[in-house]
């Protein structure tokens, strides 16, 4: 799984970290090119993805979210559910290639699904 995450960070322009997180907020595996607390990133984004899933599934009744992208002033994150219990997190900088993040993130999630 680490090899998939490392390759994803290499393939997406502007990416600096990739991780697999559980919907319970725990870090399963991660790779980062900078000093960063991946456990905190995973824990906080698991909550956001869980909130989005609750709204989509229950309040709006439109099924589960397929992907979630958040762009902040100093942090942007792309989230892609792998299975109902796990998700892929890709952290990118402000000038990243979102097309690559979506395509290659989805591809990595498919490959990781078979390993989880």
């Amino acid at each position: 799984m680490l090899a998939q995450l490392t390759q994803l960070v290499k393939d997406v322009d502007g990416a600096w970290a990739a991780a697999i997180g559980g919907m319970d907020g725990l870090l399963v595996e991660g790779h980062a090119t900078t000093e960063t607390d991946l456990s905190l990133l995973v824990a906080e984004h698991a909550g956001l993805l869980q909130a989005a899933a609750t709204v989509y599934s229950h309040s709006l009744n439109v099924g589960t979210p397929r992907e979630l992208y958040l762009r902040g002033e100093r942090l942007s994150v792309y989230l892609h559910p792998i299975t109902p219990g796990y998700f892929l997190l890709l952290a990118v900088d402000a000038r990243s290639n979102l097309g690559q993040a979506r395509l290659y993130g989805r591809d990595a999630a498919r490959k990781l699904e078979a390993m989880l």
Binding site: D13, R95, N97, L98, G99, Q100, R102, Y104
Partner: protein, 113 residues
């Protein structure tokens, strides 16, 4: 629907219109999304080449691989590109791209830091 004219060009397997963020504004074909993302990445490299070589703006890019040929044009901050099966004449695609580039350059620019 700006790229629809490219669908009639012989040999075309994918086409894309993309901005600097790599998200396709419009794409056709199975590989259209990937073509958009990689054209945006190439465009980033070309911007550096222009600056470092002092070449002036690079407006056209052609790539030949084992199976396909890619022709791409820069139109302002946007990039238009088409992938053709290798061996097809690319002139018709280049002419169509040149016409489309004039429309595309007038699109509103995306927010980038």
């Amino acid at each position: 629907m700006k790229l629809a004219a490219l669908n009639d060009v012989p040999g075309v397997v994918a086409s894309a219109l993309v901005g600097p963020d790599g998200l396709p504004i419009e794409s056709y074909g199975d590989g259209g999304g990937a073509l958009a993302a990689e054209l945006a990445a190439l465009r980033g490299s070309l911007d550096r080449m222009e600056r470092r070589l002092g070449s002036g703006e690079i407006t056209r890019l052609t790539v030949t691989s084992e199976r396909i040929e890619i022709v791409a044009l820069a139109a302002g901050k946007f990039t238009l590109g088409v992938a053709l099966v290798r061996g097809h004449d690319t002139r018709s695609a280049q002419q169509t791209l040149a016409k489309l580039a004039q429309d595309v350059a007038a699109l509103p620019h995306l927010e980038r830091p």
